[in-house]
């Protein structure tokens, strides 16, 4: 259809507009493109790091819990450090029950952080089994905190190795975080008042050939620490 083009007037033709660059001020020429790149980067980052949906549901009750006030002496810190009260936690056990650490007040407690895939943990475990059998009547309790494994993987190991003490499931590793886990195995020795007397970052000493040591923990050292928390 005919159209009156006289209003536009004749003009020069730019045959290569893609070769021209236009300065439109600092915001539109520099800042806005950089913001756009940042927005793309942020979107990619969000897609990569957003909380995953569809992950297995896990009881939100389990994990670190507030220590009952009655169990906290005045001026006593609650943290995973020697001399402080051991942080309280509530975790499901391998047997389907649940265990709260503060319920064990009055007993000497070994809190051992471990996993079946951890070779030093596997080597150490018979020592805890033997120690539990030897000292349980004197008030020793061992709590084996398994880090993020499935019960179907843990149970055969626990049955074979005769772990008769509580095996608790730290599925979200929240308790491990509160106990400052930096490597497996890691063992806290807690006295009857709930105070951490020592921490052992595994593996223990190297095997001493020709001397009577068993497993990754030198027997004398383990016995000494147990007797320390038994009082």
């Amino acid at each position: 259809m005919a159209e009156d083009l006289r209003a536009t007037g004749p003009v020069e033709v730019d045959e290569s507009p893609q070769r021209r660059r236009v300065w439109r001020g600092p915001w539109r020429s520099v800042v806005l493109p950089i913001v756009a790149v940042g927005a793309i980067a942020g979107a990619i980052w969000w897609l990569d790091y957003r909380p995953d949906s569809g992950s297995s549901p896990y009881d939100a009750r389990y994990g670190p819990v507030e220590m009952p006030a009655a169990l906290v002496p005045p001026g006593m810190a609650v943290e995973a450090k020697v001399g402080s009260l051991a942080p309280d936690f509530l975790l499901a056990t391998l047997d389907g029950g649940e265990l709260r650490l503060s319920d064990l007040r009055g007993k000497a407690v070994i809190v051992n952080l471990w996993a079946t895939w951890c070779a030093p943990c596997r080597k150490e475990m018979p020592q805890f089994v033997a120690a539990y059998d030897r000292y349980k009547d004197e008030g020793l309790e061992v709590v084996a905190v398994n880090v993020q494994e499935s019960p179907s993987i843990i149970r055969p190991f626990a049955d074979d190795f005769g772990m008769k003490f509580p095996v608790v499931l730290d599925k979200r590793s929240s308790v491990s975080d509160s106990y400052r886990l930096i490597g497996l195995p890691m063992t806290y020795f807690i006295d009857r008042e709930g105070v951490i007397l020592s921490v052992f970052q595994g593996p223990f000493l190297e095997q001493l050939r020709g001397t009577r040591v068993q497993g990754a923990i030198e027997e004398d050292e383990l016995t000494r620490r147990i007797q320390e928390i038994l009082g």
Partner: protein, 584 residues
Amino acid sequence: MAEESSLRGAGWWRLARELDPFRATWRLFTNVRWAIGIIAFLALASLVGVVVPQVPVAVRGDAVAEGRWLNVQEGRFGFLTGGMNSLGLFDVFHVGWFIYALGILVVSVAVCTASRLPPIWRSVNRPAKRVNDAYFQSARHRFEYETPAGASRLESVLRRRLYAVERYEEGDTVYLFAERFQLAQLATFVSHLALIVILAAALVSRFSGFSNGMMIAEGASGPVFPLKNPRQMQVQLLDAVGRFTPDGQPLEYSSKLAIYEGGEEVKRCTTTVNSPCSYRGYRFHQAAYFGFGADVQVRDLASGNVVFRETLSLASTLPTPHVTVRDGGGDVLLDETMVLTDVLSDDQFTYYGRLVALPGGRTLTIGARKAAGQDEWRLAVFEPGERSDAVRVVLSEGESATAGGLEVEYADLQAVPAEFVPDFPLPPDSATGGSRSVLLEMSNVVYGTETASEGTAVEPAASAGPPELTIVGVRPQALTLRPGEKAEAGGYEYSFVGQREFAGIQVKRDRGDYLVWLGAGLLLAGLLVTFWVPRRRLWARITPARTQLAGHAGHLVNFEREMAEMARDEGGIVDEQHGQEGDE
């Protein structure tokens, strides 16, 4: 390059503008030479990253291991090693300056693209529909011919060629403006976006890519992330399969996996080398296979508890000579591929041997001996005691000799998987107690197990029967166990649960992969549209005598030829006047 600005002013004004950091940055980032320079720099750095040995993934982050690795590189690069390490040449793709250069290129492309958007957008949406008459003489692509008699049919010719046409009449002159597929000009932005996406993919891979390798025994599991992670998963190897040709060439490796998350099994799958399992963006690749594992258990008989349960990787080999001993009458006293259990070694030689009691009461020490620096294992057969005709022979492979009334033949040398295992539990009532290093050898093996793999004996052909595990060091006499068998020693029960295979599983997650695909698709689309979509823009000036055509088209287009065709279609008389030829 043209620059739409009012910089053509007084010198001080230009200087003031030049001192504007934003403007200076913009000038730099929109300069094509700058972009080419950055790309060339990155290309050169990438070449360095390919040619110069790069720090292995397993070593990166471990200061001690990195130091050892650098010492090895010093043997190749000498005094340059320190400087090269300081410059990051041994880890080019992770060093800061490389990442910064990638980031600068991304920003540069974005700024450059944004600066070119306005003129291109204006060209697409607000073209010059009425051009100066002088343009018909100066246009890069132009054509003119004698206007055919009667009404001009150029407009209909153009419409038939899918042009959108606009008409303007000025006296007896008709001006036409025609164009088609002008949106194709925007394809250049698609190509630039593709470049940004591909560069972003590199950065995403660098910062969020994940890769972790595990060697897992059948029945065992391993964590995807070291120690703990909010997204922690476990991978359990249910079955590892290796298939081989009769002469031992590998055909296929596959692994059946169970994946756990949050303490629950979430997926079962089979992974092969070319077809990994996937779960929530993580791919589980079959990366390795090893067939010689021994599942060993030690139980304390007093308590009934297991004190040791491991699948041990027997990654070394020990020589196992095939020895035949005959008496003077030719009767065979010994015909065995010998698993050697006694170890002696020093700077001069290595010796593996065993005491063998022959029928008839004679005893021989039979062993394989290799001198330091030599490859040959020679068979040494010695008979203890004071007999004057005691056997004392040393044979090479394939040789035989007669001594002391016995014929000793060293038929051939084979090898069995073996390993010295540290910290193996000793019986509690042993003299040393505790644990120590023991030797494990597994004979009669094939790749895989009869229940798991279509294994075939690699070398040599296995004897009939299941594998046998020999444990040397838990008691004075070596233990030899078949799968399922147990043996008691000093209060412990040692059992060989069975031969197990290992699979190397490489877990990877790289969102950059998807971006690379997206970038490649965008680049392909952008290039296809830019070079193959026939976008045209044409102006026509039609007088009763002459018709003049001028316009521009995409790359690699002979627009004059098309104009000539339009002229012929219209029935015009084509003369020899042409504009500048387009590219062929």
